[in-house]
């Protein structure tokens, strides 16, 4: 297994040099040279080369026969308030994928003996596009625990053989799906922001890569199911329609779980609903100090907004992690995002650039945040924000 440059094809254009995430390629004597120590064989240079001059010779992942795999299966995550809304988002995308493949769309719920086989939960997903609903029931599924839920999902996948399995990239989905994928020895793509079907009928999964600086399209060619977790609030929710669907209820006994949930605590201080807020007021490095967040909080309260943050204030301990927006924090999609003293790193933009409207307040006229802003205020936030608060207060 190795990577090499076909000398006669390469014309030294250097596209590969700038695209390599590991800085492993240089142009020497007019030809690309790959430093094998630095190269990770990630393969991103191969399709990027305009002259097909880079090849990776590999033994492909041992292909297995997957002709009998059909259908798109969505993991039906349940929260204290019912079906997690990411499931509704997955239903709109899942419907699109299933239609392209000419196959069925299924939602799988895992729950205890009381889990309803009809009513709001089941009707809600059918109305939003599911052809079929599997409900797998046992007392062990009363609350979410990774091990028994893995058993349940693996059982369903082995029995019904879906070609695609999707779940929300929530803390639950991102804990459960890796375990399922590892047991099935198949591929799993984390935190996708786009899904499509290509001409070969493969699921093309788009996600931010290398720290969110670039996007990658990923496929899982030789194993089934093709699995992905999908970022919340990136895709549109499916709309309800008058539809009918089939419901299959099954009892299944998992292995006795080794972990035990002692308590599930709702912590109001941590629950700030950034993801559901219409307006977010967010602070960055320009805030300078923990106590200055009170200024932003005041503005947020006046606007009925939630309080967000970029990464530096969280790293410096000015504000808890639960407020962090961005690549390693939350993805938000409010109506209005007001960025105060945020320069707009790629990592931050990854978490907020799909907001409907963006207002940026920053001293530096060249700050990258202005590139995504609908309204950019070049000015000191410590002058502009107090003036704004004063005006909002006087208008009552």
């Amino acid at each position: 297994m190795s990577i090499r440059v076909i000398g006669e094809n390469c014309n030294g254009c250097g596209v590969c040099v700038s695209i390599c995430p590991y800085g492993a390629i240089s142009i020497q004597n007019g030809i690309a040279l790959i430093d094998l120590d630095s190269c990770d064989l990630c393969g991103v240079c191969v399709p990027e080369c305009p002259f097909e001059a880079i090849v990776i010779e590999e033994k492909p992942t041992s292909p297995r026969s997957y002709l009998d795999y059909h259908g798109v299966l969505i993991y039906g995550e349940i929260t204290a308030n019912g079906v997690h809304r990411v499931v509704y988002e997955l239903l709109s995308k899942g419907r699109e994928l299933a239609d392209k493949l000419g196959t069925e769309l299924v939602v799988a719920f895992v729950g205890d003996k009381e889990f309803p086989s009809g009513g709001e939960v089941v009707d809600g997903v059918i109305a939003r596009g599911a052809d079929k609903v599997y409900i797998i029931r046992n007392e062990a599924f009363k609350e979410f625990l990774v091990e028994p839920y893995t058993d349940a999902l693996v059982h369903l996948i082995e029995k019904y053989k879906p070609e695609i399995v999707l779940a929300g990239a929530t803390s639950e989905g991102r804990s459960l799906l890796p375990r399922v994928a590892a047991r099935l020895e198949t591929g799993l793509t984390a935190d996708c922001t786009g899904l499509n079907i290509n001409e070969d009928g493969l699921l093309v999964q788009t996600r931010p890569a290398f720290g969110g600086n670039i996007m990658a399209r990923i496929v899982c060619e030789h194993r089934r199911p093709q699995m992905a977790t999908v970022r919340y609030k990136v895709m549109e929710e499916a709309v309800e329609k008058e539809r009918r669907g089939e419901v299959v209820v099954e009892e299944f006994v998992p292995e006795t779980p080794r972990t035990k949930l002692q308590r599930d605590v709702i912590d109001e201080t941590q629950k700030i609903n950034l993801e559901d807020a219409d307006i977010i007021v967010s602070g960055g490095r320009g805030i300078q100090d923990a106590k200055n967040f009170t200024l932003l909080r005041e503005l947020a309260d006046l606007l009925g907004a939630a309080l967000g943050s970029s990464r530096p204030p969280v790293d410096d301990g000015w504000i808890p992690y639960s407020h962090q927006v961005g690549q390693t924090g939350k993805t938000v999609r409010p109506k209005v995002y007001i960025a105060c003293g945020i320069s707009g790193s790629i990592q931050h933009l990854a978490g907020m650039s799909s907001s409907d409207y963006i207002i940026a307040i920053n001293k530096d006229p060249d700050a990258p945040i202005f590139k995504v802003a609908d309204l950019g205020i070049v000015g000191d936030l410590f002058e502009v924000v107090p003036a704004l608060i004063k005006k909002l207060e006087s208008k009552g």
């Binding site: 190795s2 700038s18 094998l36 120590d37 190269c39 990770d40 064989l41 393969g43 991103v44 399709p47 590999e58 033994k59 041992s62 929260t79 990774v146 091990e147 893995t150 929530t170 803390s171 991102r174 804990s175 890796p178 375990r179 994928a181 020895e185 198949t186 591929g187 890569a209 290398f210 720290g211 600086n213 996007m215 990658a216 990923i218 496929v219 035990k260 002692q262 599930d264 605590v265 709702i266 912590d267 941590q270 390693t328 209005v336 990592q347 207002i359 307040i361 006229p365 990258p368 995504v372 609908d374 309204l375 950019g376 205020i377 070049v378 000015g379 502009v384 003036a387 704004l388 005006k391």
Partner: protein
Amino acid sequence: MRIIVCIKQVPDTQDIKIDPDTNTLIREGVPSVMNPLDAYALEEAIRIREKGEAEVIAISMGPPQAEDALREAIGMGADGAVLLTDMKFKGADTLATSSTLGKTIEKIGNYDLILCGKQATDGDTAQVGPEIAEFLGIPQVTYVRKIEEINEKGAVVERMTEWGYQVIETPLPALLTVVKEINVPRLPSLRGKIRAKSAEIPHWGLRDIEVEEEKVGLSGSPTRVIEIFTPERKKSGEKFTGTREEAAEKIIEFLKGVSS
């Protein structure tokens, strides 16, 4: 108690900048560092050792220069380290990475606790931890923000959720992935640095961990990158410079405009 901490060497993403003209990454001079989130896992392991008897071993898979991240780990206080490095390990996705690390952990043996950072800052998948746990057939708890109790038999931990936290009891051996709320990692001490400099870090390859070639590296990776592209930057709206009052008025007008 034997604690194994999984560490990844990553480019310092804080330092990565975009060339505004070509819209490509500027990688020159971007140093490689220990994945910042792994430092929390290592710190927690060292704290457990400080309270009782434990041995802390750091492992990493990567190119030969990933040894630097392991020396950093020894500098912080790890007792020993192993580097998995082999041409055959290259091009691994999360499945192949976790089977390689899983085999390594089995080879080291007698482990009680595996600690990982929540995710690595370059890939951001958060998948390798749970996948290792599955390979080893041991319980996992992700997003751990506190270890309330731990002894040879089991642990009680707090797992962060979107709505608060859960208290979960698990027997050992188990794998935990930790979030940054768990502690404040120490800096390497001078003594640690000296020890790190001379510490011997064995390099293990394919043959050393007795893993089938088709389970590691590119051949063990079901997923494949077929294209990469720079994300589109949408709109660039009005840029306003004026007095604070004018700016405030502008914002209020804008808010009125979009809410109607």
